[in-house]
Each structure stands twice: as C-alpha cells, then as structure tokens.
C-alpha cells in the first residue's frame, strides 16, 4: 500500500513539524505584530472615514464659494464692460517636485551641500550622504527620504545613506539609528545598530513595526557585549516610548526596556519600567521582581 511505502516521509515530516513548533518568544513576537497591525488598520479606517467626510464638506464649501464669487464677478464685469480690456496672463507652470531622494534636516534648516565641520550636509539627488557623530538627533538633525516617507534619526552615531532614484540603503557604522516610516496613518520603526544594513522602502512596509523592532532590539541588547551599544539601544527605546506613549506597542516596549535595565544591573529602574508596562497593558502579567531577576541572571550567565 502506498501509505506504508511513504511512512518514512510522513515520519520525517512529522519530526520536522514538531521541531518547527513556535516558542513562547515566537508567539509573543507574532502577537505583538498582529496587535499592531490591527490597531494600525483601525486607525487607517478612521482616518479614511474622516478624510472622506472632510472632502465632502470641502467640496460643498468650495462649490458654494465659487458660486458666490461667480455672481460677484459677473456683477463687476457687467458694470465695467465694455471699457475694460481683458488680459489673461500666461499661467506659470509650477516647478516640478524636487527629484532628490533624501534630504538632511538640520537645526538651521535644510542644508544643500556636504561640509564636514558641522551643520552643512548633503541634499542628495543620487549619491551618498554620510552622517558623522556631531550631527545628533537631540540637536535636531535627521535625514528624511520624502519620497519614501522615511525619517532616519541618529543617536550619536555615524551612518551612511546611499540613495538612488528608487531606493535608499542605510549602513550604520556606529551607535544606533532609528528609522521611522510614515505610511498613511501607520507609523512603523526599525532600529538599526552598528554593522546593520537596511534598505528602504523594503523595510518600510514589511516588518518595521514598532513592537517587532523593539523586540528585536531587546534580543540584540541581550546578546551585545559592547557597553556603549547597550546604552545606545536603551536610549533608543526610551526615546521611542517617550515620543509615542500611547502607541499600542508602548507597553510592550516598556516591558522590554525594564528587562534591559535589569540586565544592566539597574534593578530599581528595571522593575519600575516593568510595573509601568503592567499598569498600561493587562496582558503583561507576572512577578516583576522575578522577571527582573531572570534578566539579570541571564546577563550574568552570559558573562556580562
């Protein structure tokens, strides 16, 4: 019988199926992604409904205004004709949208050329822009890629953006770069560490959502031996949470932040962040002291 002959196949597939079972960590990551997706979907629908309503009101308002303007104009022209000579100025064509794929925003405004001694950096058509350590996000520097709706914010770091007409590739040389994508109503993030290379727009619309980025960042944190990098990562999470305290992923991010603090030996801050996370999301359950202890022990076991 065919099935008897196929038994080794079935057994091998069953074994592989068993080995492919998701861990709690996998489920947590997938749940976080799923919840963010649902929240973003609901938000997009609300925004679309509001936009529809606004468009209708605007159309009605404009039609009314145009009607009134037409009546007034006719009245004026009737009074002034026939002495008035009409002249119609040729309408100027609006300048085409700039073709650049990335722009650097500085505290003093948009810069148009690269200059290594601070401030003036590149407005890029196609080519490369390099951010060095003195261009800091806390001073207002960031790189925007308008056509992709991407913002790149350095946290005391060096990174390179190479842009073509359709893509931007970001290489992080030091520290951490936070990439924010604005896709309609959806905000998504990716946090890139030293040595990472990320391409946009590919990263923008697949896995860049905040929960996942933070989750991966926490994993990276736990495996990263460089103290400076760890501090930068925690700073990145804190900045993200502070900027978007009501984002659906913020409690989860706080939770990760708490674990990270505990692993760094900062038990007080760590447990405080864990408790805050619990207060904001009833799904985050568990004894915070035990979670903190486990994170610290894990870091200690890893020799850090």
């Amino acid at each position: 019988m065919a099935d008897d002959r196929d038994d080794p196949i079935r057994t091998a597939l069953d074994r592989a199926w068993h080995r492919a079972a998701p861990t709690d960590e996998d489920l947590a990551a997938m749940d976080a992604q799923f919840r963010s997706m649902l929240a973003a979907n609901a938000s997009t629908r609300r925004a679309a409904a509001n936009a529809r309503r606004t468009r209708v009101l605007l159309a009605v308002g404009l039609a009314a205004a145009a009607g009134v303007a037409l009546v007034i104009r006719r009245a004026v022209l009737d009074r002034q004709a026939p002495a008035m000579a009409h002249h119609t100025a040729p309408r100027e064509t609006a300048p085409a949208a700039p073709a650049w794929a990335a722009q650097v925003v500085s505290p003093g405004g948009r810069m148009d050329a690269r200059d290594d001694d601070g401030g003036r950096v590149a407005l890029v058509h196609e080519g490369t822009v390099e951010f060095s350590g003195h261009h800091r996000a806390d001073q207002g520097y960031r790189v925007r890629i308008p056509s992709l709706d991407v913002d790149l914010e350095p946290l005391g770091t060096r990174f390179v953006v190479e842009v073509t007409a359709t893509r931007a590739r970001v290489t992080v040389r030091e520290g951490v770069v936070q990439a924010t994508c604005h896709r309609g109503a959806r905000l998504s993030y990716a946090v890139l560490g030293a040595g990472d290379v990320a391409e946009f727009p590919a990263r923008c619309d697949d896995t860049g959502d905040a929960a996942l980025a933070l989750y991966r960042m926490a994993q990276r944190f736990e495996g990263d031996d460089r103290a400076a990098s760890r501090v930068s990562l925690v700073a990145a999470v804190e900045a993200l949470v502070a900027r978007h305290p009501t984002h659906p992923s913020a409690p989860h991010a706080r939770w990760m932040l708490g674990r990270a603090r505990c692993a760094m030996g900062d038990v007080g801050e760590g447990t405080r962040a864990l408790r805050e996370a619990q207060q904001r999301d009833a799904h985050l359950v568990g004894d915070v002291e035990a979670v903190c202890r486990a994170a610290a022990e894990r870091a200690h076991d890893a020799g850090r």
Partner: protein, 183 residues
C-alpha cells in the same frame, strides 16, 4: 466554553479579553483565524526553510493579506488549506528576496545570538513551491489528492506527479546513500 489562548507572556487566558481593538465583525473574524492558525503557519514557514524571525514575518504577511482581502478568505472552501498555501508562497517569496539582497539583511543582523534556530525543521527547504505545497496539504492538512487538486487548481494527475517528485526529493535527503547519483 470560550477557547483558551496564550497571551504575550505565554500565560493562558480567556479569548474574550483580547484585544480591545476588535470592534468590527471583520476584525473579529481575522482574530479568530489568527488564533486558530498562527502556530500552524509559523511551522509551515519554518519547514519551508526560512529563519525564525522571517517566519514571524510570514505569519504577519499572510494575516495582513487576510485583513486586506477578508471576503476572499471567507469564500474559501477549505480555509486551512488556503492559509497553508498562502504561507508556503509567502515563505518562498521571502527566501528568494533574501537571496537577492546583496547586503546582509536586517533580519540576520538582528538575530538573537541564542535560542533555537531551524534545528532540522527545514525539511522542505529548496523544494519547489508546488511540491512543498502538495506535501504539506497531503501530510499535514490531511487532504486527499482530489481535494489538493481543487485547492491548487490543477488536475489530480498533476497532484500525483507533484507528490511523487516531492517524496523522491525527500527520500534522497533522508537517505542519500540509497539514492546514488547516476554515473
């Protein structure tokens, strides 16, 4: 009795508490599908041979498609088979995209240094998509040849061919010594 599900920390809890954003009927439908099939789709992605974090993304992509085209999924005769087919397709596409990328992808760069990776789960890695789909639908979903033919929109004869090719490839992998190459 309400189904028991797992929360972010793996603690069982009641499905009715999750999540607040589930207001509409459509979202409720997608939520139920997700709860019922997330683990299966994760396994499909792993067996097809993507990395752990890419498997999360495969599940995410499939359910994003479900959310965008809910009517299409509601109309599917066998939703499990439909989702498995979508997951194989998405996983294969993810693998191809990863290969094409010249630079090191972010996923790899951010991989956790510890924890289980594929661990021998990727039995169907490198198998053509139709063969992998047919094998999974037959052995894991338990469909007959004619049911697979209906899902894949091919003839029963073609399903037999796909399964035979898939089995032959797996036999070679399982016991390469029994299948020496032709001189």
């Amino acid at each position: 009795m309400a189904p028991r599900v797992t929360n972010l920390l793996g603690t069982p809890r009641d499905d009715t508490h999750y999540p607040d954003t589930m207001a509409s009927d459509e979202s409720g439908y997608v939520e139920r599908l997700y709860r019922a099939h997330r683990e299966r789709l994760f396994r499909v992605a792993m067996v097809v041979g993507v990395a752990r974090e890419a498997a999360w993304d495969v599940v995410h992509e499939v359910f994003r498609d479900v959310l965008a085209h809910t009517d299409r999924y509601r109309a599917a005769e066998n939703i499990e088979a439909y989702l498995v087919t979508a997951a194989v397709h998405t996983a294969r596409r993810a693998r191809v995209a990863a290969k094409r990328r010249e630079s090191r992808p972010l996923d790899e760069a951010l991989d956790a240094p510890t924890g289980p990776q594929s661990g021998g789960a990727d039995l169907l890695r490198g198998l053509p998509e139709p063969e992998a789909t047919a094998l999974l639908l037959h052995y894991q979903v338990g469909l007959s040849y004619s049911e697979i033919a209906a899902v894949m929109k091919v003839s029963v004869r073609h399903v037999e061919t796909l399964l035979e090719r898939g089995r032959a490839a797996l036999r070679t992998r399982l016991d390469p010594d029994d299948h020496p190459r032709e001189p």
